[in-house]
Amino acid sequence: MSGFTLTPVETKPMSFTLPMVGAAGAFAGLFVGTAHGSGLMGIVIGAIALMALSLIALKVLGLGMEKTTRRGMIVLFIVVGWLVAGLPGLVLGALSGWFFSWFIFWIGEGRYRANLAPYLTSGQVLWHYTFRVICGTIFVFLITPILVVMPLSFNAQDFFTFTPEMLRFDPAGYSLKHYEDFFTSTGWQQALRNSLAIAPMATVLSVGFGTLAAIGLSQPHVPFRRAIMAILISPMIVPLIISAAGMYFFYSRVGLQGTYMGVVLAHAALGIPFVIITVTATLVGFDRSLTRAAANMGADPLTTFFRVQMPLILPGVISGGLFAFITSFDEVVVVLFVGSANQQTLPWRMFTGLREQISPTILAVATILVVISICLLTTLEYLRRRSERLRGLSPG
């Protein structure tokens, strides 16, 4: 993208640059100002400071000095950040200095148009960037709560608080004690063992039943296909608490409540819809003439399934299995009903722990679970791409 320009850039008039840069400064100032007590002052100072900087950069020093100006600005931001808020201010200052020194020239020199088609109107250009900013904001909004948890899990205190020591990056403010607590506490370890015993078993059952159901339901001659499909998918649609209460009373009657098998079966029922959906999706692209060809060459249905059909739908099976695994691994409502204290899983323990004692051990566990989830989803994505490459659907 950066190698060529679609539209020649031209220096914009100050009547355009100053308001744009000022608005960005005001936006940044709003956050800094709010953190220091007055959002309004922040807006005013941010807008004025950035307008002044862009005047100096673009008019006084000019384009010829761009590199020096940008370096100078970064240093300026670092020094100001350091004076205002110490070490964290220095880091934030460096980042915002880097951004704004780039932003001033990007706006002032009209570089934002370089990669866009020349016939776009100003309104379209504005929308092009507004859209990206909105997407970015949504992304930040979704991801920040997860990211905030991670540094808090290294807290040396027993509260969900960024202590002054942590904000100064003082090593004394950080500790691994909550991780130690997780790995040494019998309660947490038992919960981890329960989760690791329940989730794989539930996954195996979900994958087995779900795959068979998907294959069966994809046969055109099966009667009431849609009705059966709807029933099998229903655990995904019915509110979890209703399934859980129903399972509780049913399992109590048949003696499954509070047993390992009971929780496994309940979680398998929750996981089956995911497997059915992903496997059905891969079966859409499956060529039925392949099974006929295999039968023609003398393979019985079982051999055909394992040697021909299974390898081709395997990516769907695996991704369905991973979803089923994560469902069981993250599930708290059903296990609260169907399980007893002996089947306490990690999410259950986190749930009670969060209510009765707000301990950062929960954050340590959450961080570990997030890392595991990221690994699983990365695997999933890798498998999906690999299968697409193998089937020649994407240039890879």
């Binding site: 205190q157 969900f160 608080t161 309660g187 048949v254 499954l256 204290a341 722990g353 009765e356 707000i358």
Partner: protein, 371 residues
Amino acid sequence: MKLTKTLLATTALTVAASTAVTAQDMADSMTLVSWGGAYQDSQNKAYVDPYLANNAGVSATWDESSAEAVAKLRAMNEAGNVTWDLVDVVASDAMRLCDEGLAMELDHDEDLAAAPDGTSASDDFGDLIVSDCFVPQIVYSTTFGYRTDLVPAGVEPPTSVCDVFDLAKYPGKRSLQKRPIDNMEWALYCDGVAKEDIYPTLGTDAGVEKALAKLDTIKDQVVWWSAGAETPQLLADGEVFMGSTYNGRLFSAIAEQGQPIAMMWDMQSFDLDGWIVPAGLPADRLARVMDFLKFATDTQRLADQAAYISYGPARASSAPLVGKHADLGIDMAPHMPTDPANASNVHIYDYEWWADNRDDLDAKFQAWLVQ
């Protein structure tokens, strides 16, 4: 169909087998229900661990479900599948469970150990046996803590519960429990109602209006909490200047976590927490749990518990035996809600009055909250 039949048959056999054993046989596992956290730890160290050490081969499992004990016991009862053996609940829940027949009625003198000097259990626990199904363990209180570093300069630290309502002198957020109990009484008390007139006043519509009007004066500065861990967290964050919570939570934040928080004992509201045995346990499990209950509520065990958490033992004979904190080595007696210095002005929360008026006032309080 065949599977269901087999399952039903197996269950029937299991049930038959378990009722056939004699009362002398004791189950070798127990499911104990408690609140989790430091409180459950204190129970574990003071009585469960010693009991398991004395009874090789017995195991105990904790279920941190006391907060929803009433609902869960009802569901278990309906499903005919009571999986709990001993449940830790607050006194008001114990009374409800007893009324509904979900908890077993006990003979306190028969089922519990006498004091070392021979005083019978019912005399030793005295008035704290508020229900025939209830074996009290601890006296705790809901009281206030405040951030010492957020007290305005030149102002003396708060000492009275009415300072909670004084926004001019002590600006800042307060955290209060999201329920009418205690809050309404404190509001009336600080509105000039004499202590003995609080419940008669609250029984009238005008009295309820008066209490809510007093709460209105601080409503926009209140953070409402529902779990005991919230106020210590809010205080540690500096999110609130002062807040109510259980005294043991505040002790933990002050003494164990070293937070800049101080206690304000004025008008602390006493409450009780203790065990109930679910009704309808099979004989072997019942025998085991009664054996444990007798051990866990004797004079020494209740005194031991106070070494781990600052809640007062429910037996009169345990009080002189309260010693030092197990890890910190500080004297625990001054941190007990029942200590004379802390109990100079206390609020006696009226169980029976609340049992009769709870639903009505809950509705009014919730309506006021959303206004």
